[in-house]
């Protein structure tokens, strides 16, 4: 039917048809506990994350991301080192940060580490830059939280310059200036993919478009649908700045188990524990079983359940948000390695094929509707 007409189907709105669908996994190096609920060492947790990245490739996951954190719950301050270990043992999967807290890092060093990772992995590295909604790196490296915005703005500006390649001349106020400075290693095939992680600020969306970074929507609470205007804003802002369309992704927490009941049972106590702890620092409300039920339901931001439950929700949200990528942030401090391994296996072998199937069905249906509309 698609070839029986001379009319070219109009391009669908949003970005989902322009870029290949990417389905990934993210971890924050969540501190793992053994089957008896005893905490493993930080070192063992890190070694397990390496195995999880290797497993992700084996079961067909497209991307494996590691988010920088600096606490006992998330002992993962050097994500790029762990990513390099995964890169050395894999061939196909893309690897990257999720996110790199650029505000408290040096853009030159971040560029060097990720272009090195890109070299090790033969072009599979990506970087997702964030201001850092986790703020533990600020006191650690002597940054003032009140400078949070300015630090990010300036460092993103420099990072965009570095990505262009070639000697860099740059001036700012929060980091020493650079004058015709060579920054190595050079990348082989042009710049590696760079994204900006955005929470809920439209100004951050415009900034990503301004510098030509892809947009990663970090949706960790409330209705994902409320982010729909952000992907539209991103496309319009890219157009305004004279740039080509760029991918839009979604990052949300969740947990996949064999059944809905098992997934909820494993995830809820760990979620309650960590959010309760974070509420003291971040001002979050402590979740109740009602608020949790909302978040795991069709309108919430947690992707917890059986493979089919999670796949349906992923497909629905990608369509609503006009996004072409979904990264499930799996794990939670206290979950056991076996439950994480099962999560990864189910995500790769069941959730990913099902999401592709659901989106192909809906694209075919839309295409057929459009053609029908065009012909009548």
């Amino acid at each position: 039917m698609t070839t029986s007409t001379t009319k070219t189907p109009r391009e669908a709105p949003g970005t989902s048809t322009r870029f290949p669908l990417v389905l990934g996994l993210d971890t924050f190096g969540d501190h793992e506990h053994d089957a008896e609920d005893r905490p493993l060492s930080h070192a063992q947790t890190i070694r397990n994350v390496v195995e999880e990245g290797v497993l992700a490739e084996q079961v067909g996951v497209d991307f494996f991301g590691i988010g920088e954190h600096h606490t006992d719950d998330f002992p993962m301050p050097a994500a790029d080192v762990v990513l390099a270990a995964i890169a050395a043992r894999t061939k196909r999967i893309h690897i990257g940060s999720a996110v790199t807290v650029l505000s408290s890092d040096d853009p030159v060093r971040v560029f060097q580490r990720f272009s090195t990772l890109n070299a090790i992995s033969s072009g599979r590295a990506e970087v997702i830059l964030g201001r850092g909604s986790s703020i533990d790196s600020f006191p650690l490296f002597g940054y003032d939280l009140a400078d949070y915005e300015d630090l990010f703005e300036e460092k993103v500006n420099l990072f965009a310059e570095l990505l262009k390649g070639g000697p860099v001349t740059w001036q700012g106020s929060l980091r020493p200036s650079l004058k015709n400075q060579d920054v190595v290693p050079y990348t082989e095939g042009g710049p590696f993919p760079a994204w900006i992680g955005v929470g809920g600020s439209p100004q951050s969306v415009v900034r990503a478009a301004h510098y030509g970074f892809s947009l990663m929507l970090a949706i960790i609470g409330g209705s994902p649908a409320r982010f729909r205007p952000f992907s539209q804003l991103f496309l319009q802002a890219l157009e305004r700045f004279g740039r080509e369309p760029l991918p839009v992704g979604v990052h949300s927490p969740g947990h996949v188990a064999d059944t809905d009941e098992k997934a909820l049972e494993e995830f809820w106590p760990r979620w309650l524990q960590i959010i309760t702890k974070m509420s003291k620092v971040r001002g979050f409300a402590i979740p109740t079983i009602e608020s949790f039920r909302f978040e795991v339901g069709p309108k919430g931001a947690l992707f917890v359940g059986s493979p089919d439950t999670v796949a349906q929700k992923v497909a629905a949200n990608l369509k609503t948000l006009g996004a072409n990528r979904f990264d499930l942030k799996f794990g939670m401090p206290g979950l056991s390695p076996s439950s994480l391994v099962r999560n990864i296996e189910l995500y790769g072998t069941k959730v990913i094929p099902r999401v592709r199937e659901l989106l192909a069905e809906s694209t075919a249906a839309e295409l057929s509707n459009r053609l029908h509309h065009d012909l009548t």
């Binding site: 949070y148 600020s201 409330g222 319009q236 409300a285």
Partner: protein
């Protein structure tokens, strides 16, 4: 005086701040039928790109123009920018303080640090010619829009409204009601401490009775 009566003097509302919270409040006020303007630190041009897509119907303005044209101003800027805000143009205005001071997450702001006063009392001291009401600060921005319910709905949620000026508090209570929440009035900015980060209702989406139970107080009858 009923909480839902808004004097005709409240027609044009200016939102200062276009970060996480400002656009959400702007959208809710526009939906509730107010004329709404929004301003950020820079020119309205980039902001217009945002308003067209994210808050259609809301006008992007220079901050000074928005404040001059408004009878009511909502402060939704990061608190650490507040010390640089010029009090002059806000004189005589009803100002809703939707900001929060939460040093562990946002850094220390000396003007607000180690004070016995609530953050809105400090805002009032600095904006001494304005009438400050603390409100729209305690529900997380990501829950604000989905949390709206029509008047009388059994699961309608509450938003605290604290102020030293009972008439102004009642006006803001009326705005809150029209937006889609039950206003719970607190009779002073000092009492508004319960709405602050770390307080019993901060970050929580509660019905009026749950809210009142949480703060161990009875709302001033409206």
């Amino acid at each position: 005086m009923s909480g839902s009566v808004i004097p005709p003097s409240v027609r044009r509302i200016a939102i200062l701040g276009a970060g996480h919270v400002g656009p959400v409040i702007a959208r809710m006020l526009f939906d509730a039928g107010f004329e709404v303007m929004i301003a950020a630190s820079g020119s309205p041009e980039t902001l217009e790109l945002i308003t067209q897509v994210v808050t259609p119907g809301v006008q992007a303005r220079w901050a000074a123009d928005a404040v001059a044209a408004a009878d009511t101003v909502v402060l939704a800027i990061p608190l650490h920018r507040f010390p640089a805000l010029d009090p002059g143009p806000l004189a005589g205005k009803l100002v809703v303080d939707a900001m929060n001071y939460w040093a562990p997450a946002d850094g220390v702001v000396p003007m607000f640090q180690g004070q016995q006063l609530s953050s809105s009392e400090i805002v009032q001291r600095r904006l001494s010619q304005s009438t400050i009401i603390k409100s729209l600060n305690q529900i997380a921005y990501q829950d604000l829009e989905d949390g709206r319910r029509p008047a009388g709905a059994p699961d309608r949620h509450a938003i605290g409204v604290a102020g030293d000026d009972p008439e102004a508090a009642s006006v803001v209570g009326g705005i809150v009601d029209r937006v889609g929440y039950d206003p719970v009035l607190l009779d002073s900015l000092s009492a508004g401490r319960v709405l602050q980060p770390g307080g019993p209702v901060f970050g929580a989406v509660l019905t009026r009775s749950e809210f009142e139970r949480a703060i161990h107080t009875t709302a001033v009858k409206t």
